[in-house]
């Protein structure tokens, strides 16, 4: 066995008296790809943030590369040989790709920046990803996946001995994931270790050597991936017996599918919708009580379509009809008044209001209805909040806890409650289970299921095929801004959807091409 590169022993950390880590351990060998898994709130992020100097540990010992390692800032960790790629890309959008890659280790000549050398360096690093882009372009001209690759190039450029990847694949499509895995294997061949954090178990088995499973702030198991079945892994994460882990991959398993065919007039009908560069010709319809899945690769125009329907972006062509009447919301407020709800994809960016409490976040949309003459009726508000916290099983210390202190899954439940509280006719859910743990995922899926049974129509955008296949009454597939296929539930299969998504996939390879 290779030498141990990193050894974190008995790490403890508490926030405001509440322990996030209690004597957790992690040990990484040189040149291995090590998976770090656990439900949200298990302590993975805290562990990583302590390692990278973002938080200080309360107790415990860290040895890295044969010496004691205790850094005070992410910069120091980077200089010490640990680079991190976060889920949310932390780069400078207005500066060029080359500048971003060389940020913090700019090449100088006679005291001035040596641009040719930096461009050359950036090009060489990017080339490992098989993408060909102009490194002088500003970063923001590229899509998320490309930005992710640039972030990784940057980490490699720091000659890191250990690269931490925190859910690096959450914004990548399948092909890009493949490229990323090639890069990881290459890193490994170069003797670099990788800590790989992901909620997608399949990926772990593809690329990782060993896994450390965390639960409730402790490391509960470390094992070679090959010695651990997927079921055993999930069971360890959840702290349950294998027999208890459901055989269904999603909690939609028991859904009874209705309206497989029917003459009923559609609740929402979208024809030839066109908006911006991402939505070119989108067509679909949905009936009352249906869950409609919107599938497609990253950048296929799903989110953009939803934003137009919700009035956040403006339509440039085509027709949207709600209950048979043309529907042109000027802004989200219009759409909300018409009975729509939109749970957005990025919780941090346009979902939660971090400094506000659970109660405030939950009642944000409903607030005008909870107010008389502009004064909030606190009693009515408290009642609603209490009802929904109980109904959705939100785990928080109380309605007044700040939402930013909750785990991703619980934040998502609050955001769902925010819309359910308005009792909408049509709820758009954009990646409702992205980045949340297995347990919360199942709860949210069965909640969506129950809501649809009560007559709510759901437009569900999801990159998780099982979710769409097991949950949706019908699925529409988008490809590069066009609707390309419709499947009734009985015709759904992974094979069919993937074929529709990928059919004659043109040079999307230019993942770089300015989007």
């Amino acid at each position: 066995m290779a030498l141990s590169l990193l050894s974190m022993q008995r790490i403890s950390k508490a926030f405001g008296g509440i322990p996030a880590l209690s004597a957790a351990s992690l040990q990484i060998d040189a040149g291995e790809v090590h998976a770090l898994v656990g439900q949200n709130g298990a302590g993975k992020s805290t562990m990583i943030k302590i390692l990278t100097g973002y938080y200080r540990k309360d107790a415990g010992d860290i040895q890295f590369d044969g010496a004691s390692f205790d850094v005070e800032s992410p910069q120091a960790a980077q200089m010490g040989g640990i680079s991190t790629i976060y889920q949310e890309i932390n780069l400078v959008p207005y500066r060029s790709v080359a500048e971003n890659i060389c940020l913090g280790r700019e090449k100088r000549r006679f005291g001035l920046l040596d641009w040719p050398a930096m461009y050359e360096d950036a090009r060489a690093l990017i080339a490992r990803f098989n993408i060909n882009i102009d490194v002088r372009q500003p970063l923001m001209n590229f899509n998320t996946a490309t930005q992710q690759m640039i972030a990784i190039s940057r980490a490699i450029g720091f000659k890191a001995k250990l690269v931490i990847m925190d859910e690096p694949t959450s914004s990548l499509d399948e092909r890009e994931v493949g490229v990323l895995f090639d890069v990881i294997r290459q890193l490994k061949a170069d003797g670099v270790s990788v800590i790989f954090v992901s909620h997608k178990l399949d990926e772990l088995y593809q690329v990782c050597d060993r896994v450390t499973i965390m639960r409730d702030g402790q490391s509960v198991k470390t094992a070679a991936m090959a010695d651990l079945t997927q079921l055993e892994l999930i069971a360890a994460m959840l702290g349950r017996d294998i027999a208890q882990v459901s055989r269904h991959t999603t909690a939609f398993g028991d859904r009874t599918f209705q309206y497989q065919s029917g003459p009923e007039a559609p609740l929402l009908k979208v024809s030839n919708l066109r908006a911006g560069r991402k939505v070119l010709d989108v067509n679909f319809n949905m009936r009352r009580g249906e869950i409609i899945g919107l599938a497609g690769l990253l950048g296929a125009g799903r989110t953009e379509t939803a934003r137009v329907i919700f009035g956040e972006d403006q339509r440039q062509g085509g027709l949207v009809e709600l209950n048979g009447v043309a529907f042109n919301p000027r802004d989200p407020a219009d759409a909300i008044a018409a009975g729509l709800g939109f749970c957005s994809e990025d919780r941090k960016l346009d979902g939660i209001i971090p400094d506000m409490s659970v109660a405030e976040n939950l009642t944000l949309v409903l607030l005008p209805h909870l107010s008389k003459a502009g004064i909030v009726d606190e009693t009515a508000k408290a009642k609603i909040v209490e009802t929904f916290i109980a109904r959705l099983g939100v785990k928080c210390s109380g309605p007044n806890q700040k939402i930013r202190e909750l785990s991703g899954g619980n934040q998502q439940k609050v955001l769902l409650a925010r819309w359910l509280a308005t009792n909408p006719d049509l709820l758009i859910l954009d990646e409702p289970t992205r980045g949340i743990d297995v347990g919360a995922k199942a709860e949210i899926q069965s909640l969506i299921n129950a809501m649809a049974k009560d007559g709510l129509s759901v437009l569900m955008i999801s990159s998780e095929l099982e979710e769409v296949i097991e949950g949706a009454d019908r699925v529409f597939v988008l490809r590069e801004g066009h609707s390309v296929a419709e499947f009734a539930h009985k015709d759904l299969s992974e094979q069919a959807i993937m074929q529709a998504m990928a059919y004659s996939e043109p040079a999307t390879t230019a993942a770089g091409a300015a989007s």
């Binding site: 508490a14 926030f15 405001g16 956040e312 989200p332 939109f342 209001i353």
Partner: protein, 332 residues
Amino acid sequence: MSDLVQSAPNSRSFRWQDFFARHGTLIVLLALLVFNMIATPNFLSVRTLNVNLTQVATIVIVAVGMTMVIATGGIDLSVGSLMAIAGALAPLIFLGKIVHFGNIYVAVAVAMVVSVLVAGAFGWFNGWLITHFKIQPIIATLVLFIAGRGIAQVVTNGNLQAFKVPQFQFIGLDRWFGIPVQVIVMIILVAAATWTMRNTLFGRQILAVGGNERAARLCGMPVSKTKRWVYFISGICAGIAGLVVIAINSSSDANLVGLGMELDAIAAVAVGGTSLSGGRASVLGTLMGALIIQLVRFTLLANGIPDAAALVVKAAIIVAAVWLQRQNGARA
């Protein structure tokens, strides 16, 4: 078990830090009061209290509006100039230079309402620039910061307007129930703003817009309208403060009224613990922040240290306050 023993003192020290970060402003204020009780002669007198409150009132009045603006993630640099505009306009009206009023009380009432509303209208203009053209608040309000004082000078032809109109000057010179009138105005505004932030839909909208504008929009909140309103309120507050200043001085000099007020107000807000990046607001904190800055100045002056040195200390307090805030934020 050993872990439990180890972590116990840690969690306690954390609570202390939490406590200090949350109530830091109050603690500093109390410390200053205690220090003065011991060190400054005659500190515990109604006179000292009134001197300090009178001097701090205009800053607090402006800072109340500023707190709301900053809570939306904005900033208002124009408040000093808007004070000058209101201060220039009011004497023109109650001295009868525009229209002659038979009754001085009517003239004063019209002067006060019109000049404050004009300041509010200029505030609304700030908000319009910011929401309609998507100009950054610091730039948009810089427009009136520069032009506003010019407008005030043009209106008065650059003349100093001196007056002696007790019917108007009560707002800066009189006492009701032994309390200076401007202090009563200040208290009413602080109370109203605190109540608004805590209990109204508008207060929630301000915090939501400042906390996450995109999320607020997707929740159907009237983001632009909310912003225009806070800048309007900031303008109104500045207008009122302008009237108080000219009433105290018995004169209005467009060059001087409200000079540097924007920075005093921002300092009070920052020391009071309102996050300059928006999403959080503490009107009471702003009041305490202004009191701290005032009290430090008073303490130094009362103990024979010159005003110039007091400015340096004022800056040090702001640095300390921002540092405290960062401590608070880093653990979040």
